[in-house]
């Protein structure tokens, strides 16, 4: 029972990191229609930055903040490449973000080498109902919860957040009232970088990150985002938590080597079910 609780909480922590990456994907997709393949890259950039800054003796807090900002800048740059030019279709933009991710490999290897790097997080563990939980896991869950609350407030309460929603809701109308949809798209990419960066900073103390960790991160993030059809943040969060728990349980109960297959298989099934439901609806409507 206590093992179960440990796996559950560890799984939730993993799911939280996936949720942050997935919410970045959703934010960008909603506003621009682009699926950002470089979303995992932002987490890698932030993770590697943290490890370097801490290694150089900068204090906790400042290091993490600077790393997240670096990821936000990476997000903005990716956005400029993906949607900066007029008339780039979403699928072309996907391929451009793919290119941006590969370009980041080159930069990352020059700066950090090709070996995995870690960073110290919160040390120690607490015991909850007989289950031992690493403090860092609790930190991940807490920060993610706070981030999601802030996101909800940003989109629901602020003028800028509403303008972003407006671009997602009706891009033509957004232009009619004078909103620069492309600038909002760049803002969404920056926000995506920020969210990816938070994920990277939180995860690096738990599992070491190297330049090519982005593939696992983006695939998991995309799998979670697919639950919410790439547009619905709350369902994405639930999907991410489910995914994290399922993967951790699989690992905990001895199917560790099949973690990735669990995530990918789940993603394929969800996508195919959604696609067949969509085609059923479109058949009915014709």
């Amino acid at each position: 029972m206590s093992a179960f609780l440990t796996y559950l909480l560890n799984g939730l922590a993993v799911g939280c990191a996936i949720a942050l990456i997935a919410s970045g994907l959703v934010a960008i997709h909603r506003v621009t229609g682009v699926v950002n393949f470089a979303q995992g890259t932002f987490a890698v950039v932030a993770g590697l930055c943290t490890s370097s800054l801490l290694g150089l003796g900068f204090p906790h807090g400042l290091s993490e903040l600077a790393a997240v900002l670096a990821a936000a800048v990476a997000g903005l740059l990716t956005g400029l490449a993906a949607i900066g030019k007029r008339g780039t279709t979403p699928l072309s933009a996907l391929i451009v973000t793919l290119g941006a991710g590969v370009l980041a490999y080159a930069v990352e290897i020059v700066l950090w080498g090709d070996q995995p790097r870690s960073a110290p997080g919160l040390a120690g563990s607490v015991t909850v109902a007989g289950a031992r939980i690493q403090t860092q896991h609790l930190l991940v869950i807490g920060v993610t919860a706070a981030t999601f609350v802030l996101l909800a407030l940003f989109f629901g309460r602020t003028y800028l957040g509403k303008a972003l929603t407006a671009c997602a809701s009706n891009p033509y109308a957004a232009r009619v009232v004078g909103i620069d949809v492309r600038k909002m798209g760049l803002l969404a990419f920056t926000l995506g970088g920020l969210l990816g960066g938070i994920a990277g900073v939180l995860v690096t103390p738990l599992r070491p990150i190297s330049f090519d960790t982005d593939v696992t991160l983006i695939v998991n993030g995309f799998a979670a985002a697919v639950f919410g059809a790439l547009t619905r943040p709350v369902i994405t969060l639930i999907g991410a938590l489910l995914l994290g728990v399922a993967e951790t349980m699989a690992a905990g109960y001895g199917y560790g080597s099949h973690q990735l297959e669990v995530a990918l298989g789940l993603m394929l099934v969800v996508m195919i079910v959604q696609a067949s439901r969509r085609s059923a609806i479109s058949l009915e409507s014709t």
């Binding site: 699926v35 490449a81 030019k85 007029r86 008339g87 780039t88 979403p90 699928l91 072309s92 996907l94 391929i95 451009v96 793919l98 290119g99 941006a100 991710g101 590969v102 370009l103 490999y105 080159a106 290897i109 020059v110 080498g113 090709d114 949809v181 492309r182 593939v215 695939v219 995309f222 697919v226 080597s257 099949h258 990735l260 297959e261 990918l264 298989g265 993603m267 394929l268 996508m271 195919i272 696609a275 067949s276 085609s279």
Partner: protein, 325 residues
Amino acid sequence: MIRLVAGLLIAAVTLALPAVLDDSALAVYILLGLAAMVTVGVSLLMGYAGQVSLGQGAFYAIGAYTAALLALNGVPPLAGLVAAPVVAALSALVIGTPLLRLRGHHLAFATLAMQLILLSLAGQLEFTGGDIGLQAIPQFSIGSFEATGAATYAYLTWAGLALVMLVTRNVITSRPGRALRALATSETAAASSGIPVGRYKLVVFALSAAFAGLAGGIYCFYTGYVAPGSFPVLISIQYIVMAVVGGLGTIWGAVVGASAITLLLQALNTLGALPGMPTYAPSVLSYAVYALVLIVVVLFLPQGLLPAVTDRLSRKRQSTPVETR
């Protein structure tokens, strides 16, 4: 007339090259041909069926493992080489039936997932040799003739590429091929004009898988071993880069794209390995160039290199729309 002369010239050069190249140059020549074979399929899939596959490396791997396993179990290599594209195509039919319901970025991620699952399985299963893979694969042979030199593999590769190009040409010029052209631009329009969209897409998917499978089969005999590490995700991205650079939906474009990228990477590798360069230089250079070429071509030469050049030559310019966004 000019086309015939050009064709004969290209054929002559292609046939003459293996005789004059040394072994390390031949290795590049063979890998170039194999990459071109896969890229023709990717280009067909992207240009004619309008679908992006981020998992074409999976079919390359399936072909390689099929030929390797058969050869290691005493099946004549020729049968193994024939089986490689067949098994790859059959896998594509099975995988594609549910997967091709997906479109756009969904399909891109699904195919990527497919390759990751396959690599993970190949790395864990016993009969595929796990992470170490399969070693000591016999040389390719037909009857008593055994392919020992690299030159023989070069001829085999380019014969395979010629076959792939011929098949693709016939597919494109056939009536279904012209219907496919419509598919790439608008699936709904194609469907409403009575084209069996789903079946055509599946056939193109299987065909592109068969090309990759054939390349994989030749690859395993040439190198003598296969392992999951030979088929990273990046290899699938590489085929997309090659197809995009050459121009989607053009046969010669795919060959030009594959040649340009392979030779470019080769040059970068040589450059990166020069004394005084840091050890990471080759990989950094190739990543950077891959990425920049991909981004620049997608944004500024969306038709690809070859059509852009031929268009310039024949002075066919389209007027650009003035709508602002």
